[in-house]
């Protein structure tokens, strides 16, 4: 098992294996995304409280979930890099940071749009949006550090340390922001309260969440493959692969 883990750490082997899975993964995820979105937009009944604007939930909630788990995955890759020094893990961290930031941004924008009909403003400092914003800053920090240190040898390790520091602080930040919000708005209506949803509502949500994950992995793998080609451009197998194209 550990052997497989180490084998996968080889850029060449990862490249070969991922090459086989990439297209099916992308295809499946796009299929699920369009299917789920169509279901959400057309077939889900409007919410008794929020009306049609609840449909944005199907874009926002998966994005919010992925924004957080994306950071956890980044921290996981960072830990792998620091502990086992597998260079591919560093590639994974480098590639996931902008992706995670983008999806966090999507969560922020859709969260704001969702709030507009309810609050009448394009932005509101509620617990969810605020902690998503801080999460966005954490991603930006990793990206900024990487780009500032691009030419330097220790860039990978520095970003990995930062990602781990962020992940340790993340629960503390979330908890404190949530507490802060209750302090200032005790009787608040939370958009993201989860009342028991009927099947017609949570099934498409589940599909969208899975679709988002698959799409996220597909794009992440694409980025990793690209980065592998860049980093290993002087090796024989890359030269061969490029001439075949």
């Amino acid at each position: 098992m550990l052997n497989w883990f180490h084998r996968l750490g080889s850029p060449k082997i990862f490249f070969e294996i991922s090459g086989r899975w990439q297209v099916p993964l992308l295809f499946l995820s796009v299929l699920m995304l369009t299917g789920g979105a169509a279901w959400a937009l057309l077939f889900v009944p409007p919410d008794y409280q929020q009306g049609d604007s609840v449909r944005i939930m199907y874009i926002h909630v998966p994005a919010a979930i992925l924004a957080q788990s994306g950071y956890l995955m980044m921290a996981g890759a960072a830990a792998v890099f620091l502990i086992w020094r597998i260079k591919l893990a560093d590639v994974a961290v480098k590639c996931i940071a902008p992706l995670g930031a983008s999806i966090t941004f999507l969560a922020l924008v859709t969260g704001a749009i969702w709030g507009k009909p309810t609050w009448g403003t394009w932005w509101v400092w509620d617990a969810r949006l605020t902690s998503t914003l801080v999460l966005f800053f954490l991603y930006i920090g990793v990206i900024a550090l990487r780009s500032a240190m691009e030419r330097q040898a220790g860039a990978g390790r520095a970003c990995a340390i930062l990602a781990l520091v962020g992940v340790v602080n993340l629960p503390v930040i979330k908890f404190s922001v949530e507490w802060w919000y209750t302090l200032h708005q005790p009787a608040s209506f939370s958009l993201t309260e989860k009342p028991t949803m009927p099947v017609e509502m949570w099934l498409p949500l589940l599909i969208m969440v899975v679709a988002y994950y698959l799409f996220f992995f597909a794009i992440w793998i694409m980025r990793i493959r690209n980065e592998i080609l860049v980093r290993e451009k002087s090796t024989d197998w890359v030269k061969q692969w490029l001439t075949v194209r």
Binding site: V134, A148, G154, R157, A158, L162, V165, N169, S176
Partner: protein, 222 residues
């Protein structure tokens, strides 16, 4: 222990010979606070209400300004790599750096709290709470800021980047500390906040230097 004490002594000595590095962030702090009445209006009621937030944000910014000096000069003159080479505990060295940073920037900021409170019309209870909150939190600020300082020490314009990296980490203490001051102003008990802030402080003392020491090792690895 010898390394710890000698390192603190050394830092204090170096900074007493160059006091401007220590004074600048403090001046910055007062300047920032003074801008708010100019920007918002001199009405005491208005300023008093938002005073905890203003003072705290100004304190965070001033602290981040002073962060750059934690490791930069040691890095540039080669002292930092000598520490790493010496096989002594980088953790202890980092802790010593944090302590001297706190003595040189955190503590003076705490002493400036009454002045800030005066400028923004905080009452007595609020002033006490403000001072106490910064006293409890400023070591945490130095600890967490040290991580950012160590990560960016090799970079030419690391100063602004430290702010981006460390600000999210400051959110919990900002939220707690300002709430503590507001609670004191409202006349309620603040002991709960004190416990939380101490808990965060102890957690940071144990964990932050690990990350900072790792970052120091990365910085000297070239």
């Amino acid at each position: 222990m010898n390394l710890f004490i000698a390192s603190v002594q050394r830092d204090l000595l170096v900074h007493f010979r160059h006091p401007s590095e220590v004074l600048n962030p403090l001046v910055f702090f007062i300047v920032v606070i003074s801008l708010f009445p100019l920007g918002i209006g001199p009405e005491p009621g208005q300023l008093k209400e938002i005073a905890p937030g203003i003072v705290w944000v100004a304190a965070l910014l001033a602290t981040l300004m002073s962060m750059d000096s934690m490791f930069r000069s040691d890095f540039e003159d080669g002292s930092l790599e000598q520490v790493v080479l010496s096989e002594q505990s980088t953790f202890i060295f980092v802790l010593a750096k944090v302590v001297s940073h706190w003595l040189l920037s955190g503590l003076p900021l705490v002493l400036l709290m009454p002045l800030a409170a005066l400028l923004l019309f905080l009452d007595e209870a609020g002033t006490w709470a403000l001072t106490l909150s910064l006293l409890l939190v400023s070591p945490t600020l130095s600890l967490l800021g040290g991580i950012g300082a160590a990560l960016t020490v090799g970079l030419p314009r690391g100063g602004l980047l430290v702010t981006i990296l460390v600000m999210p980490l400051y959110v919990p203490v900002l939220v707690l500390a300002t709430a503590m001051v507001q609670a004191a102003e409202a006349g309620s008990d603040t002991i709960g906040y004190v416990y939380w802030l101490l808990a965060i402080l102890f957690g940071s003392v144990c964990l932050a230097p690990i990350a900072t020491a790792a970052a120091v090792n990365v910085a000297t690895d070239q």
